[in-house]
Amino acid sequence: MLDIALKISLALMILALLLNVYRLTVGPDLPDRLLALDTMYVNSIALIVLMGLWLNTKTYFESALLIALLGFISTVAVCKYLLRGDIIE
């Protein structure tokens, strides 16, 4: 049962990432692309968690935490750049 659920979840996450890549390439404006990148790092954390379940190891969760931290900081930095024209004032 867990095997089938894992496969369904993996397929859904890969489809979600493909939709994010579509919005990243098509997106008419800059904030659309930024939003697509923001969603992509969240989805990649889900993919890392699924890999940990698949390989039955907890080694990769530190990298998931690192991606969460750096993704948030980079989103905030690019937003500040677009808002003020400068990151650190």
Binding site: M1, L2, I4, A5, L6, I8, S9, L10, A11, L12, M13, L15, A16, L17, L19, N20, Y22, R23, P28, D29, L30, P31, D32, L34, L35, A36, D38, T39, V42, N43, I45, A46, V49, L50, G52, L53, N56, K58, F61, E62, A64, L65, A68, L69, F72, T75, V76, C79, K80, L82, L83
Partner: protein, 130 residues
């Protein structure tokens, strides 16, 4: 024996629910027509999906190893705290850049309506400064 079957069912439910929620969020990101609608779709649904998935992972390793672990809770907590902040900043960026939007979205700074301020502006009270 039966307990493990029930736990496996719960973990499988959380996994599929997380995948479905994340997929719906990304479908909204690809399908909706407006930046603010896309922001609305992806911020809520994807965060809930990743929360379900991390809960499933935490339950799985709890059952396997026999003791709970704080790491997944930490990732979930951090994502749940940071997602509204980044969404707020993205919305502010969209307002600042004055993106195109359909009329019903209302993507402009809120202004006071006419019936809230009356016909003419209320003058400040004179405190007798001269």
């Amino acid at each position: 024996m039966t307990l493990y079957v029930v736990l496996e069912g719960i973990i499988a439910f959380f996994l599929v629910a997380g995948g479905v929620f994340a997929f719906i969020g990304s479908l909204g990101l690809a399908h909706l027509r407006d930046f603010y609608m896309r922001l609305h779709g992806t911020t809520k649904a994807t965060t809930l999906g990743i929360g379900c998935m991390l809960t499933a992972s935490m339950l799985y390793f709890w059952v396997i190893e026999g003791k709970p672990d704080i790491q997944e809770v930490l990732i979930t907590l951090f994502l749940f705290i940071t997602a509204p902040v980044s969404a707020h900043l993205l919305a502010k960026t969209g307002l600042h850049l004055q993106l195109r939007h359909i009329d019903k979205t209302g993507g402009s700074p809120p202004e006071l309506r006419a019936e809230e301020i009356g016909k003419r502006p209320i003058p400040h009270r004179d405190h007798g400064h001269g």
